[in-house]
Amino acid sequence: MINASLKDLATALGAKQISSVELTQLFLDRIDRLNPEINAYVTLDADRSLAQAAAADALIAQGRFGPLTGIPFAQKDIFCAKGWRTTCGSKMLENFIAPYDAHIISQFDAAGAVNLGKTNMDEFAMGSSNETSYFGKVQNPWDRTRVPGGSSGGSAAAVAARLAPAATGTDTGGSIRQPASLCGLSGLKPTYGVCSRYGMIAFASSLDQAGPMAKSAEDLALMLNVMAGFDSRDSTSLQREKEDYTRDLNKPLAGLRIGLPREYFAEGLNAGVAKVVMDAIDQYRKLGAETVDISLPNTQLSIPVYYVLAPAEASSNLSRYDGVRYGHRAAEYTDLLDMYSKSRAEGFGAEVKRRILIGTYVLSAGYYDAYYLKAQQLRRLIAQDFTEAFKQCDVIMGPAAPGTAFKTGEKTDDPVAMYLEDLYTIAVNLAGLPGMSVPAGFADGLPVGLQIIGNYFSEARMLNVGHQYQQVTDWHTRMPEGI
């Protein structure tokens, strides 16, 4: 059961082989046992989860259920869930009980799914290792001395350790794809605007997107069917015809053109990872695909551009955390200015503070043109690289991360070293394109993910590409030892 796909779970629930309450309890028991070490979950509420499960069971009994009804999901603690503590990995929101549901949460509720608990994450989604969380670091289930990746590290660890069948994540610069790669999971960041951001605590508004993290491409498709869709409360949410993301899973891949950017296979890429990725691409050739050498010339620039735009937007988005209406307020202060300054100094961790300061700086008088405006111009060049590339290929492939899971503490002293983790993923967010990672093998015993980048709104095709690979390989079925 703990290894079952969403499809199999739905079948089992429908056939009454197991009830939602039993299934939920199963995972809660595992969480009880394993979470104290792995620390994937920040907040649990067994009573609530089981109550939802019971309600799901009632629906199933009446024959009223969909593909996700009764299935428990781990929710990244960035989504406001009414009545649930929602921390965003921060002391600032340590005691924040969300008074409303994010659109994503409502979608899961409407689908009859169960909220299994809130997962750990890098504070305010800023990080690539889940080491900036106020609630402690998360262990990579494949090697407890290593990081799971970030910022959706808790969600990734939860699924990898089979503490949930699947989970939600968010991706601003790679925060779904990189942890998916480091934990041997499938993860998808959809085209910007496909999932509503309402209720998803903002980090960098023009880059943030919610997405599914699961054990297979098929599971991702089933989840995306529930997560995607227009929401009138989000101005950046796109109004499009409803899609069934499972519709193309079984299409043959013959004739698929795969672009391989030379910049993704240059220096900085771990040799073991490179080999796994090349082998995966060979596998695609066997499936009938052909490869095309392409160039994304502005790849290297994507890091400075991202580290101007994301902190700039974040510095503004995080101004609301001032201790006035909710969140952490300092216990002692002399006046208003002191209250603001102390509350924010105490409530935010070091990485968040750094990014707020950078963001404030690049927006400040005299610097806007040289930094923010310049970055927005380069952003267009980066997006144009992809537009050009997609004239020659249908999807782009490469590594999701430059290496495998690194040791805890290895990169925490040097922010820039940490930022380079995002080299292959960031440009995708800047361009607003969909990106996916699927398990492709191991290097030094640690998982390696293959990144698949598609053109705008090509998620169904990408999921097909991932699914077909998963029909002829079994990397995605592997589980860490001792789990």
Partner: protein, 95 residues
Amino acid sequence: MSLTTDDVKRIAHLARIEVTEDDAQATLSKLSGILGLIEQMQAVDTTGIAPMSHSQDVSQRLRDDVVTETNQRELFQSIAPAVENGLYLVPKVIE
């Protein structure tokens, strides 16, 4: 583009985050590293390129002028640090 601790303190004040004298120095070195990274942008000529804010060429959708929100003061203020008579309390603001 070299920063000083005075710059750090000025930016910290703009961001309303207290940075002590000790912090300022440590923060400065970390920030300088990041700013060094950002400088790479200057190598590229972007004359004439329109800045990109959104990937899709869509315009702002408009909302009908109809009341949809109800009074949830009790719920919203149940999580507030300090309220009195329905007002959020903050240290006295001097104009």
